[in-house]
């Protein structure tokens, strides 16, 4: 990159002094590696809201942050069409560091040395964004629970859908439809991986459908739309539609219905 196009850097850290320090070190590096800080955020959520406004080459991301931690932030970033490269920065987080080592993700340790930061920035710029699968694996290896949001890219912006608000997830041809009481979103993820990640939240009622356990209100007889139907449909809180339960999933779902009845 020529001197005319400095590296555009975005900072995400919940500690203001840490961001200040990073800016100082970036400033020290400026003659060697021209750069400009185009924005900063105090946590992952704020970062996602600000980031889509202007193009960014590299995001320097802290791991421990309130509201949304660094790894989840990076996972949502990958929904963007041209996601920035991410370099994680942490003071001491053994689990995350091991996960990064295993998945060959670059990271920096606080306090950060200018030399080390320069090398990481140069490397990140050349290797580009971290692939989503890599981040998913790292998140699992770091012992992180499921994401708290699903991210949907809309006109170059990232829209976050809180997992707690989702009523059901339905696989379509290429996408998964995410249904909340308010509206629908299209998600580019596989239903199988979502089922695995959010096993505690959702139950499979049909080959192509997961419903939120907390939203199950009851079951009704009568639907028989395809060959797999068990003749039962699940009634959900928040949406009017009733979703068919497959014969294969009926025993599992029935057990849930039993638990529902016991709960009162």
């Amino acid at each position: 990159m020529s001197a005319a196009a400095p590296l555009r850097v975005f900072l995400v850290d919940d500690e203001q002094p840490a961001r200040e320090r990073m800016k100082e070190v970036l400033g020290d590096l400026a003659t060697e590696l021209p750069n400009v800080v185009v924005g900063e955020a105090a946590n992952g959520r704020e970062g996602l809201a600000l980031l889509s406004r202007e193009p960014v080459d590299v995001a320097l991301v802290d791991i421990h942050m309130p509201q949304m931690d660094g790894i989840e932030f990076a996972r949502h970033l990958t929904t963007l069409e041209n996601p920035p490269a991410v370099v994680f920065v942490t003071a001491h987080d053994q689990h995350a560091i091991e996960a990064f080592e295993v998945n060959a993700i670059d990271y920096l340790l606080k306090p950060v040395r200018a030399q080390r930061l320069g090398a990481a920035l140069a490397k990140a710029r050349s290797s580009g964004a971290i692939r989503r699968e890599t981040l998913d694996r790292a998140a699992a290896a770091a012992g992180q629970g499921p994401r708290r949001f699903l991210s949907v890219s809309e006109r170059g912006r990232i829209h976050l859908v809180p997992v707690a608000e989702i009523v059901y997830l339905k696989a379509e041809l290429k996408y998964v439809t995410v249904r909340t009481p308010q509206r629908e979103y299209l998600l580019e993820e596989s239903l199988a991986s979502l089922e695995q990640e959010f096993a505690a939240h959702f139950v499979r009622v049909h080959r192509s459908c997961l419903v939120a356990r907390r939203r199950v209100r009851g079951f009704e007889r009568g639907v028989e739309e395809d060959g797999e139907g068990a003749g039962w449909a699940v009634v959900l809180d928040g949406v009017a539609e009733k979703l068919p339960v497959s014969r294969r999933q009926w025993p599992v779902v029935k057990a849930l219905a039993g638990a529902l009845a016991e709960r009162g």
Binding site: D14, P17, R21, P66, H92, P111
Partner: protein, 346 residues
């Protein structure tokens, strides 16, 4: 850990003013009396008669001994272990013999003065042996608990983040950076000090305060601290590092996971012979999976128990939007010269 077990706690007389110790002596002596009664009684029906007969002799001596031990406890600890033990044994033999002499009519047959004193000696020796073994059994635990306390205390996370925050100050506010490093040095000096003996509440409060100053440096407005310690007995003896780890937990679990301002409240007061400590921090239900809380709590609970036996309490609970830790310990005064003013001169 062979190195640690070598540094075991030296032999010492039990603390005769501790409720747990007194209770143990009462139970063991009465069990011995019951055993004696069981041997003497010809039938089971006569067991209670036999016990009452023995109790008539034993209890006054027992109660008198415990009262004397309670009174003499500070004086006795000045002697080496074996001399202290000998003084107690001789004292109790005299007491038993004296009781026989005052009321010889009770023991018309059977126990004479000599036999009574021998029994008392035997029982004293047994009790001494019991407390000795108990001390031995717990001293590796105490050493290990100290080690755990050192390892678990002050998360590396805190050290590196604080160093990073200090680095950010050096160019803009060198003076603040200096103070911060001084606080950090004091904090680590106290953490690394030999934590074998009890320390004063004043020192523990200073330690927690320095720790919170450093946290404030990096968390800024997100951390608010309220101290309610006007009625705190600064000279109370407490286990070292009993407050700071809990304050650290409060920051780690209650402040760091939240984006908004949160308040940690430390309230310490004395109520007659008890010291009450209450620590409150915001409860962050979504972050309960963060590890470490239970380990620190278990460690402190264990150390309180080792130092104060049954007289210390620790309870935790959630009240509304807050998480609360309550502790109560016996108020023991430290010798006056060891109580610092506002700050300890190193």
């Amino acid at each position: 850990m062979p190195i640690l077990s070598q540094t075991s706690v030296p032999d010492a007389l039990p603390d005769f003013r501790n409720l747990g110790v007194v209770a143990r002596i009462l139970v063991i002596v009465n069990l011995a009396a019951l055993l004696g009664a069981a041997i003497r009684a010809p039938t089971l029906g006569l067991l209670s008669d036999a016990f009452i007969e023995i109790a008539f002799v034993v209890e006054p001596v027992l109660v008198a001994s415990l009262c004397l031990l309670w009174a003499a406890s500070p004086w006795l600890t000045k002697f080496p272990y074996w001399i202290g033990l000998a003084v107690i044994a001789v004292g109790i033999m005299w007491l038993t013999a004296g009781a026989q002499w005052v009321r010889p009519s009770v023991m018309t047959e059977g126990l004479g003065i000599l036999r009574g004193a021998s029994f008392a000696l035997l029982l004293t020796a047994f009790l001494a042996g019991y407390f000795h073994l108990r001390n031995r059994a717990f001293s590796p635990a105490l050493a290990e608990a100290r080690l755990q306390a050192l390892q678990a205390r002050i998360r590396p996370h805190f050290l590196f983040n604080t160093l990073n925050a200090v680095l950010s100050l050096i160019r803009k506010d060198p003076r603040r950076a200096e103070h911060a490093l001084e606080d950090l040095a004091d904090l680590y000096r106290m953490v690394m000090a030999d934590a074998k003996n009890l320390t004063t509440l004043a020192q523990e409060i200073d330690l927690a305060r320095q720790y919170l100053n450093l946290e404030q440096l990096r968390l800024g407005d997100r951390l608010a601290v309220e101290w309610k310690i006007d009625e705190a007995p600064r000279d109370a003896l407490v286990p070292p590092l009993f407050l700071q780890p809990l304050v650290e937990n409060a920051v780690y679990h209650g402040i760091e996971p939240g984006a908004e301002r949160g308040t940690i409240e430390v309230a310490i007061r004395r109520d007659r012979d008890r010291v009450h400590v209450k620590l409150t921090n915001p409860y962050q239900p979504e972050y309960q999976h963060r590890q470490g809380n239970r380990i620190a709590l278990a460690n402190i609970r264990e150390r309180l128990q080792l130092h104060f036996d049954v007289e210390a309490e620790l309870a935790t609970g959630q009240t509304g939007a807050n998480y609360e830790i309550r502790m109560a310990l016996p108020y023991r005064k430290a010798p006056p010269q060891s109580v610092p003013g506002e700050r300890v001169a190193a």
